[in-house]
């Protein structure tokens, strides 16, 4: 009687891991539907602020167009920041393929349905996420520090790197930088993979 219950529970848990992982893979697709990050520049002369949305494959303003980039570039040229040119950022091209790859791998782990499969995917995804954030940090560092020596406005000792997460005063702008829905979906995806791994481990323990 007791044994039967246990075996039923094993089957359920085996299924649960699969479903959790599948859901995680689907949620990863949210990266294509929502921006990852948003940097808001607030100043008196910009009611509502200038909002730059960073997607896995592009930049946009809240109106869905790229006029925001032009406006930020115009502002940046006074202080000598480099122009943001989405076409020259290789990450925007290959990041989507990385995500497609991870989604494919995810589907593979669901079919495989093994603890090591889930765990491996989880580790790769976490490493990639950390690398992605670090890469983002490097770009921002470069934009904020690598200034044109001929810029019209030079403030000694001033750099213009927006915060990775958080808020900061940069000259007349109050800059806010926060993750958006895309990142939340990616985080949920990682959490679900972790849950799938954990469930799968429990399943194997009971089985042994």
């Amino acid at each position: 009687m007791n044994l039967l219950n246990q075996s039923q529970r094993i089957t359920t848990q085996r299924g649960a891991a699969r479903w959790l992982m599948l859901l995680g893979v689907i949620l990863l697709g949210g990266l294509f539907l929502f921006p990852l990050w948003q940097i808001t520049l607030e100043a008196a002369q910009f009611p509502g602020g200038l909002r730059l949305n960073i997607w896995i494959d592009r930049f946009s303003g809240d109106d869905g167009t790229d006029s925001i980039i032009q406006n930020i570039n115009i502002l940046n040229h006074y202080i000598g920041m480099q122009y943001i040119e989405p076409d020259s950022i290789p990450e925007l091209v290959y990041f989507p393929y990385v995500v497609y790859g991870m989604m494919a791998l995810g589907v593979g782990t669901v079919l495989l349905n093994k603890t090591w499969g889930y765990a491996t995917w989880l580790v790769i995804m976490v490493v990639l996420a950390i690398l992605g954030v670090y890469d983002f940090y490097l770009w921002m560092y470069d934009y904020g520090h690598n200034l044109d020596p001929n810029a019209p406005i030079k403030v000694p000792g001033m750099t213009y790197m927006p915060p990775l997460i958080g808020e900061k005063d940069l000259l007349n702008f109050y800059v806010k930088s926060y993750p958006r829905m895309g990142t939340i979906f990616m985080t949920l995806s990682i959490l679900l993979a972790a849950l799938a791994t954990w469930v799968s481990i429990r399943k194997e323990k009971v089985h042994v």
């Binding site: 167009t65 006029s67 032009q70 115009i74 006074y78």
Partner: protein, 674 residues
């Protein structure tokens, strides 16, 4: 001694009396603002007004936009008068807006604002206004607050009675103020009665684009057609127009056109007119009038001459037009929100006549007529009457409605606004306006759904409302709160020109659609430079075309050489910005026309004729950034016979025609690839 004392006392009393009386008369003209009235008009910094009020500019020929209740002036929209402030009418793109059959007419006298309507409510899409002197109707696009179309109306004089809109913006109805010979001919003015005719004009409005077209004209007796309103709800399909000078006088109208006790209200069944038009009852006649329309993608005005008009004659079209008597020298003629009551005011009559649409229809049905004029039946006065508002005041002009069954009428002579009940014809309240009011406006007051919160009375003579400004004083608008039972004066604010009429609309119907900039990708101007790489100078014979870009904070190119004395230089400025409120200006020394204001993403052209050899500066006139002052450049002019090559550049990267063309082609190829 005794007599002396009496005289002294009398003198003293006289002086005292004079002082007291003067004091008295002055106090009556001062605004006594009660309690929290001022607070009601106060819109704190950072907050928006609740309504836009669009006021015509009268002799300024323009339209102004104000916020209500604050009375703040938001913008002057140039319509019928050239406007050097932004180059409207001076830039090559907008010059054609002033084309008429009389040639270029760079001014007018604008009178009545009409906002577009859908189902009898304002839809916030377009604004129409008439030019009284050179008969025309303009359309302002309310996404950009720019005049985008002007249509001339042929064979009329003084288009005062215009451009009254129907409840789905099907038509803009107008009538001639002065009857004239049709077609124009050299006849004695004293042959007025036989030779002079009036026209009622129907301009159709395209429901998608707003484009106007003169659909048909109705030939009418030679009276003066003054104001109009169209039916709504049950009376939709009908127009009502007041006439004066049914005496057909042609000199000293003040006396000779004020003889009859009653003039006439013309009633037009335009649905019937449409039927007759379809049956081919209209007669085409040769004429000439201009239609000036701005192309949305290039923002260039194209002007076309139209040479035909279709005329319907009431004699051939029974049931299309009726008359009914209306008290002496009427002015306004206003239809209430239900569409049932039509208020006809006689300026020189002590009473006001209110007609009932149902009764008018019944009278027409039973042919309850008292004769006819040129085949137009005259309905018996009493048969069409809902009732008479007895002695409400002196000199009734205009009436608006609050949507709660009340009407508000301005009285020019007795200087007041009177509130009365439309159904029961009872006077409910009266408030002094200071000096003589003309039109009045309630947001949506002309529509089926007025927002009866505020009333603005526009004053025509406002002697002591503001600090004096020489012999000419500011005209005034007075804002009343009409949300309660009694009207309450809340604010005075000065206006530009002499607003004849205004319409006010909820800000929520306009703000979400306001365009922030023109998308550069959509700029179809043939001489646009859509990127700095396309900036260049090209010679076409004696014409030199400068394809210049403007961006914070430089113009490209900023050094131009090789211009010669006989050249005509066209500066085509494209503003590359894609952000709200970043127009760039352009001015060049020695320009005899105007400066330019170029909106983000737009291209505008200024023609410039070199006036002597030398080096002349050009610069941006609209403060655009911390480095605005540095946004400038030079154009070098050489003698006509010189051999200075055409050369231009930015930052010492000089370019000549040959290598520039290569670069431009590369740029273009790159754009296509992208």
């Amino acid at each position: 001694m005794k007599t002396n004392t009496i005289f002294l006392t009398l003198f003293f009393l006289l002086v005292l009396g004079a002082v007291f009386l003067t004091d008295c008369s002055q106090r009556t003209t001062q605004t006594i603002v009660e309690g929290d009235a001022a607070q009601q008009a106060y819109v704190p910094p950072g907050e928006y007004d609740e309504f836009y009020a669009f006021m015509s500019g009268g002799f300024s020929g323009q339209v102004t936009a104000y916020g209500l209740p604050s009375g703040r002036l938001l913008k002057e929209i140039p319509v019928f008068s050239k406007y050097p402030e932004n180059g409207y009418g001076y830039s090559e793109e907008t010059k054609a807006m002033f084309n008429t059959s009389y040639g270029e007419v760079p001014w007018d006298d604008s009178h009545h604002i009409e906002l577009s309507q859908t189902d009898g409510e304002f839809d916030g899409r377009w604004l129409f206004v008439n030019g009284n002197n050179t008969p025309r109707i303009a359309r302002v696009d309310l996404t950009t607050f720019e005049t985008v179309e002007i249509l001339e109306i042929p064979d009329v004089a003084g288009l005062h009675c215009a451009p009254f809109i129907t409840e789905n913006s099907e038509y803009l109805v107008s009538g001639t103020r002065f009857s004239v010979p049709i077609p124009q001919e050299d006849v004695g003015i004293d042959t007025y009665q036989e030779n002079f005719k009036g026209l009622i004009n129907y301009v159709s409005v395209d429901p998608e684009e707003g484009h106007m077209e003169l659909a048909f004209q109705i030939e009418m007796p030679g009276y003066n057609y003054d104001l109009a309103r169209n039916g709504k709800g049950k009376s939709h399909g009908w127009s009502f127009l007041t006439t004066y000078n049914s005496e057909q006088a042609h000199t000293l109208l003040e006396v000779n056109a004020s003889q009859k006790d009653k003039d006439l209200l013309a009633i037009v069944n335009w649905k019937k007119a449409e039927e007759y038009l379809e049956q081919g009852k209209g007669q085409t006649r040769e004429t000439s009038f201009y239609h000036n329309l701005m192309d949305e993608s290039t923002s260039i005005v194209n002007s076309t001459e139209v040479t035909e008009t279709t005329i319907l004659n009431p004699q051939d079209c029974p049931g299309m037009v009726y008359f009914i008597p209306v008290p002496k020298s009427p002015h306004g003629c206003d239809v209430d929100p239900t569409g049932e009551f039509i208020v006809g005011n006689g300026k020189l009559s002590a009473d006001m006549s209110i007609y009932s649409f149902d009764k008018l229809m019944a009278a027409i049905e039973s042919e309850d007529f008292a004769g006819d004029i040129n085949g137009i039946p005259i309905i018996n006065y009493e048969s069409g009457l809902h009732g008479i508002l007895q002695k409400p005041g002196l000199g009734p002009l205009h009436t608006e409605f609050d949507g709660k069954g009340n009407a508000y009428t301005t009285f020019f002579i007795s200087s007041e606004v009177v509130k009365w009940d439309v159904e029961s014809l009872e006077v409910l309240d009266r408030q002094s306006t200071f000096y003589s009011p003309g039109h009045l406006v309630i947001p949506g007051g002309e529509t089926r759904k007025p927002e009866g919160k505020y009333l603005v009375a526009m004053n025509k003579i406002t002697k002591d409302r503001y600090l004096p400004t020489g012999p000419e004083l500011a005209h005034s608008a007075q804002l009343f709160d009409i949300s309660g039972e009694k009207m309450k004066l809340v604010l005075d604010f000065p206006t530009k020109g002499e607003p004849h009429y205004a319409q006010a609309i909820s800000a929520g119907k306009i703000v979400p659609n306001v365009k922030k900039f023109y998308r550069i990708e959509d700029n179809g101007h043939p001489r646009a430079a859509k990127g700095e790489g396309q900036a260049r100078v090209e010679r076409e014979g004696k014409e030199v075309h400068v394809y210049m870009t403007a961006i914070r904070s430089h113009l490209a190119p900023d050094n131009i050489e090789g211009i010669k004395m006989d050249d005509e230089v066209y500066f085509h400025i494209t503003n590359l910005e894609q952000d709200w409120d970043v127009p760039h200006g352009f001015a060049v020394q020695g320009a005899t026309n105007a400066e330019l204001l170029v909106m983000p993403g737009q291209t505008r052209t200024l023609k410039w004729k070199p006036f002597k050899p030398g080096v002349f500066a050009f610069y941006c006139t609209d403060f655009c950034s911390a480095l605005h002052q540095e946004m400038s450049g030079y154009v070098r002019v050489s003698p006509a016979n010189s051999d200075v090559p055409l050369k231009w550049g930015l930052n010492n990267e000089n370019t000549t025609a040959t290598n520039m063309r290569e670069q431009a082609e590369q740029q273009l190829a790159q754009r296509v690839d992208d």
